[in-house]
């Protein structure tokens, strides 16, 4: 039994069990450790990836459910070493402290800004329920607004 899907713009095939959460497939079978494990229950969202451009918690996403779909992880965000605008804003605002939650934060924010380039604070709160124990939230908000402004300006 094997599952095939698009991962960061390449086709991959894995013999991992169909019910194995995508998070662990990425981290253990496919060598991508940027997506993090925080709770295993879909709450903290450190495991956020994109499946067909939607932000999903990969720790509760079974492998079978992404068969034939397009998956993007934090590693796939910066193409050819060029940072995504959200990542650039994260650097400009110097957002991370410990940094463990940040890949999930960035992925959730990228997904939001793909749909909405004029997010209100309430929009950001709804789209980024991710937990940060270091408390970097103020800089996250500022970075999302900064990236939104840049994306609007570039459009």
């Amino acid at each position: 039994m094997s599952t095939s899907f698009q991962l960061n713009q390449r086709t991959v095939r894995t013999a991992a069990p169909a019910d194995k959460p995508l998070l662990w497939v990425l981290r253990e079978e496919l060598g991508l450790v940027g997506t993090k494990f925080g709770c295993g229950a879909g709450i903290c969202r450190a495991c956020t990836v994109h499946v067909d451009s939607e932000a999903v918690p990969s720790c509760v996403t079974p492998l079978a459910s992404v068969a034939g779909k397009k998956v993007t992880t934090i590693e796939g965000l910066s193409v050819g070493g060029v940072l995504d605008p959200v990542q650039r804003a994260w650097v400009a605002q110097d957002v991370p402290q410990c940094g463990y939650c940040q890949p999930g934060m960035v992925m959730a924010s990228v997904a939001l800004l793909r749909k909405n380039r004029r997010p209100t604070d309430a929009d950001i709160e709804a789209a980024v329920p991710n937990i940060c124990r270091c408390g970097t939230y103020h800089r996250i908000k500022a970075a999302v607004h900064q990236a939104a402004g840049e994306l609007r300006g570039a459009a």
Binding site: E75, C98, R133
Partner: protein, 721 residues
Amino acid sequence: MSVALTRRHFGALAAALVVPVGLAHTQVIGTEAGTASRALGAFVRIDAGGQVSFRIGQSEMGQGIHTGLCMLLAEELDVPLAAVRYVNATGPEFKHPIAYAQPPLTGEQITGGSLSTRAYWLPLRRAAASARDQLLRAGAARWSVPEGECSTADGQVVHGPTGRRLAYGALVEAASQLAPADGQLLPLKPREAFKLIGQPTRRLDTLAKVQGQATFGIDVRVPGMAWATVRHAPAFGSRVASLDDKQARKRKGFIAAVPFSDGELNNGVVVVADSYWTAKQAAAELAVEWTPTPRDHVSSVGIEQRLRARLTEGEAVSARKEGDAAKVLAQAGRKLDVTYFAPYLAHATMEPMNCTASVKDGRCELWVPTQRPDNDREVAARASGIAATAVKVNVTFLGGGFGRRGDSDYVFQAVAASKAVGRPVQLIWSREEDIAHDYYRPAMMVRHEVALSPDGELQALRSRIAGPGIWRHNRPILVNKGLDALATAGLLEGLKAPNVTVEWAETAPDANIGFWRGVGNSHNVFFTDGLVDELAQLLQVDAIAYRKRLYANPRAHAVLDRVAAMVNWQAGPPPGRHFGVAYYEAGRWGTRVAQVAEISMAGGKVRVNKVSCVVDSGLIVNPNQALAQVQGATLFGLSAALHGRIEFQDGRVQQSNFHDYPVITLRDLPDVEVTFIEGADAPGSIGEIACPPVMAAVANAVSRATGQRVRSLPLSASGLA
């Protein structure tokens, strides 16, 4: 100039196993790539290209210490910050007693106590000054000019009269042959000359972290590694009575179920498999029976009853005694007698507890996100039977520490598992096991008795605090004459009266207890400042004016006046909103903090709109990160004040994940505005200081808003959040 053909080693070189290429955050020191480097002292190597390599013995858990220490080094060495690469290192040279000047952390390699910047402020600058001095002397000798005509700037030695320059890279081989001067005798750069220290500086690890390329403990990969997870004995003190892994063995990828026992409070089974996911499922399929333990009867109700009883019954040890508070209280006409409570709290770091261990051929190697590499060595030695000196510790980034990652229970487990299965093992705790088997901030209860003169002067203060002692649990030798200073830290600190008694009534812990952000101050600032606020209310004195009266020192007044100005205290809060102030005299941390919480109540529940903070922690090395730490710690403490509570029933912790141990997210985010006052010329501590007082500030605000004093946390337990 010649390139050195040999290199000198300095102790153990710790290599991060995964070395991201082209990123500035960590790099292996050595000659694997490029030119040879020379060591100048214990911390610093420079190669012929001028690349400065810095061996850091402090763990990066988000507090920005890697960046801060690089700034100190670069400033005193006169190199651009961009020229400094660093690697985490462990070894005896990081144990030197002056690194942590205050007991009890001397003699151990440890990151904690908000002490890193203070501990290294002089030693690291002196080491850098000594290296710079060697380079300058080498330059002067190369030109045959007097040393007094030379200076350094931007990684070069400069000859003033002729303008000649030589890069450090060209001089380091010669410099390393010169006897280093005594760093204690060399002058350090005066503050006016600082180019880096005091400037808001971007973190050196930001780029890696925003790309998901920073290696945390859970990201380590060792060839041949198996994965594992743990099932702890549910009640503390229980052990494995019987283990049946018949069902688990049927699962493809299962390797072994390894029971472990390290003393009374670290018992259970490690399940080893070909992946974490397999291990997790196999763990659920084990049939384990646990031994009964007296703690099977522990409940939160019982815990509070026991603490309350100790407020009046049994022995207490004196922490502070001036005058005769008992006598004055017995005779006092005007008295206050109030009891405060703070619950058990979990750390809930984002990265769950984990350790990668390899036991092989009489050696043991660890890869671990740790605050205490030396303790890890001791624990690994105990688990493996291998001498601590044969244990190598590789320190990764930490996905949050907050004091949790110095209690190495997971190290014991990983080492035991590796030894049992004969291959490297990465042990990862589930979130459920992490929340239920923490080294908690203990639950504490205090009774305050206050005697007031007819005109409201403090005559006597007696505070008796009941609860377990963290040193007693972690390092009993540090309990001095029966007093565990962590239990009483911050209690009535800075308050003066003719008669003061502070005493500790010890109780046994109900679970493992340990160091949570702020440690004893995390409950004692709420206990102390809540009392101060009650007195201000009772005496009908302005809350800030009253604190200025009680804490009659210039630094206290400066932060209180400033926070009053920040929130326009005199005008009062906007309609429908309420202020609560807290002041924290953190003497041992060289810091003073004042916070005002501005709240509103809706449906009986609090909404925290803004927290205004004024911090005097002396000289700030990196204002960018100081701000991040104060905002972060404010939110950490606020989260606990609103929702933080670990409850017990039948000896088992009731909380298991973020749905029943909720923490602050973007949705509940108040504004947090911070002003820094630099009231001293050397750095004070920053990492923990904003966490304790915010609990008091919010509790005081709610008390004012509702007319009922808040004496118990979290607010959610009283329906206030």
